[in-house]
Amino acid sequence: MEAAHSVASSMGGVRTTGDMVMRLQLSKKMRIDEAKRYVADKLGLTLEEICDVVTMSEIREERGFGLGHQEPCTESTMGMEAKFRIAEALDIRINSVERFKRHAGIK
């Protein structure tokens, strides 16, 4: 079922900026249009760009926001590393990032 939703109607998570839009809905209770606008503004992109797989695959790799694939870009940021960058770019607090900093002794 997830696959059907994904194909029909979902932003696709890390394939575009779906994960980021999702974070704004969770942390700031933004409705979909507002959340997309916020992400687009923060990243300096258009609405069309943040919803486009091809554009965002490149931008995510360049800016270290995490990808859904690790070949041929094994050296790209993934997982927790990517979340550090997302938190900074979107100016939001990500709980797991704060936990990581706490435990790693990073100020």
Binding site: E2, V7, A8, S10, S96
Partner: protein
């Protein structure tokens, strides 16, 4: 020449063919049922036309424009691959599959025994699994389970079983049992919330709220309120189980509003009041009715909910709800049409 018939399905997934007239009749009938039950406005003719166009679109899979795409919360997501599909992989791996293969925007880490009473007993282990997944994934991850108040009844729990007391006419005892179960449930949910927050959960989900009636929904609201007060940066997702709150108690209130009998557009206001970040309304699929009947009814309810809400609405588009048939392997033709209707007509924030 015989009239053109369109492929569609019944609420149990069976294939049927309907004429345009039959589809329109079913759509209006389904919409009227929602209007009557929920005391909500009907859809416009334009909106009904849109539903008709989507239902009768050729092709198996349909979709929305990329710029209209929404985000998804996948409840019991980490459970499906190992439990449903029988592929024995760990939940951090399933989270990665949801992220990198299925293109999900978020997913939950939950226990196969998907309820907070069980989760409380193994909360630290659940938190450890969540932490592992959080280090590996980029998408938001949250812990999900059901309040499932029925689990607190004897012999599985400490309180008397109100489902048995009520038919015996022991009303006072039945009401007291439900009120006691609420306290146990809220404590358990809070305990799990604490463990998962401390490892960095992006949210916590209280899923299928109201499954055991109004007391079950009350437990959810009280737990949500306490979580958001104790951990202000722990978002709470509330997902419902049925289209109205079953009045097993009948007298329980939250913020001065009686819970029994509330439909989604009223449920969401209480979820907001309790501090929820995202609300997932449910509209039951009627297995004896067609997909056009069901989806028109669903859109009527969900549109009213979206308009009433100040927080994001992620309609629960899963097996047996929001127009999706009640069958184990859900057909993509119906799923994608339901998605398109909900997004384009109801202006949904997510699924």
């Amino acid at each position: 020449m015989s009239e053109k018939k369109y492929f569609t399905r019944m609420g149990d997934g069976s294939i049927i063919y309907m004429t345009a007239e039959e589809i329109w009749e079913d759509m209006r009938d389904g919409m009227d049922d929602a209007v009557d039950r929920g005391k909500i406005p009907p859809l416009s003719e334009e909106e009904l036309q849109k539903i008709f166009d989507i239902v009768t679109m050729p092709g198996g899979v349909v979709g929305v424009n990329p710029m209209d795409a929404v985000v998804t919360t996948s409840d019991s997501g980490s459970d499906k691959i190992p439990t449903k599909c029988g592929i024995p992989i760990s939940r951090d791996a399933t989270a990665m599959i949801h992220e990198r293969v299925l293109g999900c925007d978020s997913v939950d880490i939950g226990n196969p025994d998907y309820n907070y009473k069980t989760a409380k007993g193994i909360a630290k282990r659940e938190a450890a699994m969540l932490r592992l997944a959080l280090d590996k994934t980029t998408i938001p991850l949250y812990y999900g389970a059901m309040p499932n108040l029925g689990f607190y009844t004897k012999p599985d729990g400490p309180v008397d079983n109100w489902a048995e007391l009520l038919p015996q006419g022991k009303i006072k005892e039945a009401l007291a049992a439900q009120e006691e179960a609420v306290k146990h449930s809220v404590n358990d949910i809070l305990f799990v919330a604490k463990q998962t927050y401390e490892v960095g959960a992006d949210a916590i989900e209280l899923d299928t709220s109201g499954a055991a009636g109004d007391a079950d929904f009350l437990a959810t609201l009280q737990a949500c309120e306490k979580i958001t007060k104790t951990y202000p940066d722990m978002p709470v997702i509330i997902g419902m189980s049925g289209e109205f709150i079953l009045g097993m108690h009948g007298r329980l209130e939250y913020d001065g509003q009686r819970l029994a009998g509330l439909y989604p557009h009223k449920q969401v206001k209480l979820a907001e009041k309790a501090g929820a970040s995202i609300f997932g309304p449910v509209v039951n699929t009627n297995c004896s009715k067609s997909f056009p009947w069901n989806i028109a009814r669903v859109c009527t309810f969900i549109k009213a909910t979206v308009e009433a809400s100040n927080i994001p609405i992620h309609a629960d588009v899963g097996m047996g709800v929001c127009g999706i048939p009640m069958c184990e392997n859900v057909p993509a033709d119906v799923v994608t049409r339901a998605d398109k209707c909900l997004i384009e007509i109801c202006r949904l924030d997510g699924l």
